[in-house]
């Protein structure tokens, strides 16, 4: 099971757990619809595009409405802590929520009781709370952007708003140095995918790959295009790829979809997600070795 957890931006959306369904412009879980907009919706939308293409079981999701008060976030933490051993996901991807160090610690303790430890992925505020609580090494993959990489490299920051200004000013080319610092401080997951003008994939403090083509700088301005990368990584790991391979292919696929969408800073992330099937069809076999005989991957 690929289990994705995060908040959706609605006031009256109760805690909901179940299989993700594609409803065109929207997604749904247990009959409750939500948008593929910036945040958990974009991440789930990208993951679903990948699992659908690969003919895998759809992602399972635990989502709750939260507009910033934290109530929905706390419901997700509690649900996961109480149910993760029963659900026993192969991949657990955590996303938008109100960062809460104690509840993240509680969740990590619950995960230790799983018969088989899931592959743990965190992005957005779930990554903030993991790092702030000193739990980064419990995770397999973090997917920070350049500023969030500076946050991981600042041993005292508990949120990117409080990072040292010299680290904030760091050029993307200083990413390898920030990566080493974060690993030395034990504030990094086993694998980092640092999203930026050049995407860096790092393991154990060393850069093992970079992705810079196609070059679509406009993607940085589009809300949700970092979330889609995390969704793709999660789905590719669930498909059986090694985390570093999943990260490289996710970065390539996101850029290529942005290019196909002819992205401008005014593009919506759903327009990028809509191009993933074409990107997979054209490139996934060559990039990953996961190939389908012609017709095998058609619906009818």
């Amino acid at each position: 099971m690929l289990l994705i957890a995060g908040t959706v931006p609605y006031e009256d959306f109760p805690l909901t757990a179940g299989t993700v369904r594609d409803e065109g412009e929207f997604l749904s879980v247990n009959g409750r619809s939500f948008s593929r907009t910036q945040g958990t919706g974009a991440m789930i939308g990208a993951a679903l595009a990948a699992t659908s293409y690969l003919k895998l079981e759809e992602p399972q999701a635990v989502i709750a409405g939260d507009t910033g008060h934290g109530k929905g976030s706390r419901e997700i933490y509690e649900y996961l802590s109480q149910n993760v051993t029963r659900l026993s996901p192969e991949v657990l991807a955590l996303h938008y929520w109100l960062p809460d160090m104690a509840l993240t610690r509680q969740l990590c303790n619950a995960i230790k009781k799983c018969e088989k430890r899931p592959v743990m992925i965190a992005d957005a505020a779930s990554m903030y709370s993991a790092k702030a609580a000193g739990l980064a090494t419990e995770f397999d993959i973090f997917t920070p952007d350049a500023t969030e990489m500076a946050f991981l490299a600042d041993p005292d920051a508990t949120h990117p708003a409080y990072i040292n200004k010299h680290l904030f000013n760091a050029d993307i080319t200083r990413t390898p140095e920030l990566v080493r610092t974060a690993y030395q401080n034990k504030d990094a997951a086993r694998l980092l995918l640092v999203k930026g003008a050049t995407d860096y994939i790092a393991r154990d403090g060393e850069i093992i790959a970079t992705v810079s083509q196609p070059d679509v700088p406009e993607l940085e301005a589009i809300g949700g295009t970092g979330d889609t990368i995390t969704g793709l990584v999660s789905a590719f790991v669930y498909a059986g790829l090694e985390p570093d391979e999943a990260a490289i292919i996710a970065a390539r696929a996101n850029r290529t979809a942005g290019k196909l969408a002819q992205a401008t800073p005014a593009t919506r992330v759903s327009q990028v997600i809509d191009h993933f099937p074409a990107v997979f069809s054209e490139n996934l076999c060559q990039w990953s070795g996961v190939c389908f005989v012609k017709g095998e991957n058609d619906d009818d």
Partner: protein, 178 residues
């Protein structure tokens, strides 16, 4: 085994402190914040952070903007809000700007706001990861810079505060561009 075994409570780790001049104000703050749905607790501030009285309120630092708003609305007199870790830097004030030709992207901390140079319309926001950020995204896009609601007034988290910095700088850049 006891039939009345208590449910184990999760220990609170907030990462931020509200400091006060008067003990009574700290107690009042705890009350109004609890009523507002915030998880907080009264603590003695560590000596290196102590200013004013010996009682502080520990908060989830990420919720700083929402908490400041509640304290101001309820007339609670406080000195300042500070990270609990003493080595923490000041909150980020600097921004970075990227020129996309027709559009400018302004980045403050982990948040980015992009607007059309000619019309001043906000065309995108990106970055962050707190639950109020997708709400800001939906609220701000399509609005003119000077007509958009301020994230610091409607958001609850430090991500919103950073987005507010980006909006503030964008307004200044647009006005300067005139």
């Amino acid at each position: 085994m006891s039939f009345f075994k208590r449910r184990q409570k999760t220990e609170f780790e907030g990462g931020g402190l509200v400091l006060f001049r008067e003990v009574q104000e700290a107690m009042k703050a705890e009350k109004v914040l609890n009523r507002g749905g915030y998880v907080v607790r009264l603590v003695a501030p560590p000596p290196e952070l102590r200013r004013g009285c010996d009682l502080a309120v520990e908060i989830n630092l990420v919720e700083q903007p929402g908490i400041e708003r509640v304290l101001e609305e309820k007339d609670v007199d406080y000195l300042l809000i500070t990270p609990l870790r003493t080595g923490t830097s000041e909150i980020l004030e600097i921004v970075k700007v990227t020129d996309f030709g027709q559009w400018l992207m302004v980045k403050a901390g982990n948040m980015k706001l992009t607007f059309d140079k000619e019309s001043g319309e906000i065309v995108n926001t990106s970055g962050g990861g707190c639950p109020d950020i997708p709400v800001m995204h939906a609220t701000l896009i399509g609005k003119a810079l000077d007509e958009a609601p301020r994230p610091k007034d409607i958001g609850f988290t430090l991500c919103s505060l950073m987005l507010d910095r980006a909006l503030e700088e964008s307004i200044a850049l647009k006005e300067g561009g005139k």
